[in-house]
Symmetry: D2
Subunit: 357 residues, 4 copies
């Protein structure tokens, strides 16, 4: 399926930014997993725009689980989550169908769907579809926790400001992130980020960032040697986060500058567990998890929707056009992308763990 991800546990997204409802179907979850609606609500809140400069479009996200759950637990049959679109203002987007926004999918979607796609607010391409993804993610994260796997994502960098790095053992950092309203390890840096984002917004502009995820408690040996490597599967999913343009594991691009004697992580025994002395490889050797914390980063480009006027093209006339985007948009989606990154990571890992007998 085209809008589906996962081999053993699969998630399909459907809906359009301004249609009546958006949703997802998750198939392959085993029976008996707890479904904590409060946790879903909490994760959805983190995904919603908030704070200075953020889009004023606030959807309360009153999700409904219409199948696959019975008396608070998964039944083992497909689980469907629906979220209504309440605060749609179709008028804001009418002109986008012929005048594509730079950096957006307006033009590429128009070519792909030959003009039949719902043009309102990005249609199926809208970041709004990450809401049902995050709702399902809350279930995945809880299922992982029951298997001893914890994960979390912080803003390693945003608007030119860096957060501090994860500790070598990120367990405490992950616990803190789960409570955090703004996804940073150092709250002071978080305030600096917010200020820098606000400044960009005031200039009618936008900024990007880098999201870093840590996962603890993964067993060694997850992934396949060819194609379905742990890195390949995760990156496949992560590029669905709107605006992600790069993915790196461990020291990533910095590894290209190292020598082998430095980049190799020596093995040693620690309380009967095989560990590595360093973790330049981010917990992955040969495409498989090695039991160390899994560490990766994604690059989030600045939000393409900006208030400042932009040059583009009127596809109906072929004439150059100046675009002034009227809708409400975030000057930086990086903070809101953190729970999406958590959710996609959880889907990939739960899928791999489910397929490993």
């Amino acid at each position: 399926m085209k809008n589906t991800f996962g081999n053993h546990i699969s998630l399909t997204l459907f809906g359009e930014s301004h249609g009546p409802e958006i949703g997802c179907v998750v198939d392959g979850l085993g029976p008996g997993l707890p479904v904590d609606e409060a946790k879903i609500t909490r994760l959805l809140a983190l995904r919603r725009p908030a704070g200075p400069g953020a889009t004023a479009r606030v959807e309360p996200d009153p999700f409904r689980i219409v199948s696959g759950v019975w008396q608070g637990r998964t039944t083992g049959t497909p689980l469907c989550i629906l979220i209504p679109n309440r605060d749609a203002r179709p008028g804001d987007y009418v002109n986008l169908s012929a005048i594509p926004r730079p950096g957006h999918a307006d033009y590429t979607g128009r070519v792909k769907y030959r003009g039949f796609a719902d043009p309102r607010g990005g249609g199926h391409f809208s970041g709004r579809l990450t809401a049902p993804l995050v709702a399902a993610g809350a279930i995945f994260l809880e299922a992982l926790r029951q298997r001893g796997v914890q994960l979390g994502t912080h803003l390693a960098r945003c608007a030119g400001v860096s957060d501090r790095a994860f500790a070598a053992d990120p367990a405490v950092d992950l616990a803190a992130l789960e409570q955090a309203a703004f996804p940073v390890l150092d709250p002071e840096r978080g305030e600096m980020m917010k200020a820098a984002v606000l400044e960009a917004a005031r200039a009618g502009d936008s900024v990007g960032g880098i999201l870093e995820t840590a996962v603890t408690g993964l067993p060694a040996g997850l992934g396949e040697p060819w194609f379905d490597t742990l890195e390949g599967l995760l990156s496949h999913a992560l590029f669905s986060i709107p605006a992600v343009k790069g993915v790196e594991f461990g020291d990533g691009f910095a590894l290209a500058e190292m020598t082998g004697s430095r980049a190799n992580d020596p093995f040693r025994l620690e309380a009967d567990r095989v560990v590595t002395v360093s973790n330049h490889n981010g917990g992955v050797n040969g495409g498989l998890s090695n039991g160390m914390p899994l560490i990766f980063r994604t690059a989030v480009k600045p939000t393409p929707s900006i208030a400042a006027p932009q040059r583009t093209l009127d596809l109906s006339t072929g004439e150059p056009a100046e675009l002034r985007i009227q809708g409400r948009h975030d000057p930086c989606i990086a903070p809101r992308a953190c729970p999406v990154q958590d959710s996609l990571t959880a889907l990939v890992l739960l899928d791999l763990l489910t397929g490993t007998v």
Copy 2:
């Protein structure tokens, strides 16, 4: 399938580094495609180790096509390519089964396959399996050329030396790369790279690099909005290149530092074609190709096999061990990875074009 990639055109790799034969099966190729055995031989030669400091293990790669080709053209049924392993020296690797090489899959593979995997030379994890992949890649590349799509990969950086960048229109660069014995755009930089690699080898060490690919002639609209984005599919495949630890599209991680007003690529008309003025997004908007050159980079870590002694663990005793790798290994696999990157890219793109009616 676990060791398979592709939806409409799929490739499965099989074999072990020191088994009798390695090979691949390609299914889904339409009937009537020309199969140019000379081109396969040429691409296989680029993948083979060569030059100063390179591993002395030289396999002549006398591939055989045992099915799916009749009178020089694909039949439309599964195409199987076999390559014998001639220069195997199993003795070199005997001790690796209990003493895992840092940075390699020895330990993770041992856990995954519970000790049953063929331990000789990395077994199924060996970079040797990229040979049948490259043989198939030669067929994919020719099929793409017939559809007007050209692609090539250069060493953007290796051992601390940078090649020059692709031209804005990389057509001439791609033609030159196809003839090049060493995959760089600036031969002088290439010589500097070789010298730096040799220096590392003399020190018993290894180095990495960055591979950059350009693709021209792609139609707009390839990819899916969720999960099977063009970026997601490519990265999924590219992480199968041994030692790749990062993938970025367009300006990639550098985009995280830009503002939206700079990162957005404005649309304009050029001779009745919709193009963008800049190409910071690397030819991809919203996960779909936009008709501009597709540009991406991978980070290749330094070869984990180094001559210098390394600390590791003897898994049979739990005692620390010092490892001195006796086998012959490249001090830098980045140049040889270029045809592999071309082949995987060609598979992904041909698969997408085949599935697009």
Copy 3:
């Protein structure tokens, strides 16, 4: 995905018999296909129980299309159809969870889902889930018609009464079937069937039948030589019709009694088209369509839910139990299964045609 069918066009079913809503997601439909809501309503009506002896549970099936359609046409993005469950009476089924109905999925579902499945009315196993399948089928059938493919299913046999056979060119029969309220070619035989069904119902019992489908306008060459044969794909789908226990193509099991000289269908030319003189093979040679009408039959067992008391087991105590089913059930589901068979056939064929460039 587990509850999904189709390679290029895929359909996922979700929901439980007595949950708030049931539905399906269809992905892979091209953009621009007309969506005729009146046709969906018409096909849903054929699937609903009616007539003497039928279950009194009548759901008006007020379906909603919540995504993938814009201004009356498919957008090319996932299409979700929802149907609320209005007439649920959970109380009727309460005791089924521990006392499995013979011939039903109560016991096997209990084992598979380890007791966590929604036990009400068969849960996800319910024939009720064929409603969204048929709603989607109406879209598939219209898409096939636009490609020149027509199909229909009649009750070849029901309650011991046989309908007449399809004409050698079933075009007129298919046109008549599309208008028919009761799916037979000979209305008189249809009345005899109804009378026989009613008689069984009065005896507290149930009956089965044989559904025969004809498809015209298929191009030759659809299917794959191994595994994804036209026959294999259709049978895979058709066994999802509740109560189907056999599938045969052309003369099917009768072919096992013939000699080759009789079973072979000789080729000849008819107005520049290659046709066969007879059609014992039902339009399929070597697993691929041959351009002749595709003909196949399914065996539908009698409805397992009967009014008469049955012996079974109380799984909570391990004691024998007598079961008296209180719910309202059809004495024969064969007539209602015809639009389901049409819908599944249309999905398989549209999927194959979509994947054939």
Copy 4:
């Protein structure tokens, strides 16, 4: 993949009847399964033509396992089996490319592959490709036996002669079948079948039959409620047996004539196991195994290749033609199809068991 079957354990067939080698790749087998080459040889012998009237083309089938096995056990990586084609006589088949044999895939394959397919001996459509399938089947059958699952197939009917039925507990029958050179339960009936086949061969004609399979030791709950039902998965695979035109489970088509009170199999407890009193449903309820013996039948049509002259068409001229098939062919492939049916059944069941945690 097109010529691939299986979700967790997948098998891909490649090769042409008269190419240098045919083979298969099996992926997903866990590490450590024993690979018994003598058992492979034994099963291949059962698949080979033999006895009066059979084709004189005898291939010794000296298979080679080129990957995925190390020291007599599966490694967990893809297992490739190759079988050379030694006794090819391409000249026999030269005229088939333009003059399609009735009942064969010559015409449909020509359309599908647009004239590029290898025309010799059916090419990829050849029954010869069942040899590597059976070789892999021997491994699957052994893996099932280790899990307590036994299965076997007998000729329930051949050339108008019926074998006796499986006993209600088919364990003894299965043990006998494993030793049998001719796959029947009653050797006397087997001799009558052979005589009847020989008679048909003398008349230049061919005959078909019905294959019946029994499986014991399956746990309850295998299969999915929608689409991937146990019946749907098995039938999908079984229609790949050349000449199979029908599949039925339990009493199959005879169920369409029964009443529900007779067709339902009542549950009872037997030594703490839930069993059914009768087994009209063939061990499947609601698409899932119920723990009773799994019973199904396939209808095998008479071999299309017959010595008697047949009417057909010369596609190169459009003129009628008389075909006299010169190749050597079996007058009845039903006996040889039994190990193929065993192998496909074993693949489906092992796949389902592997995917069930």
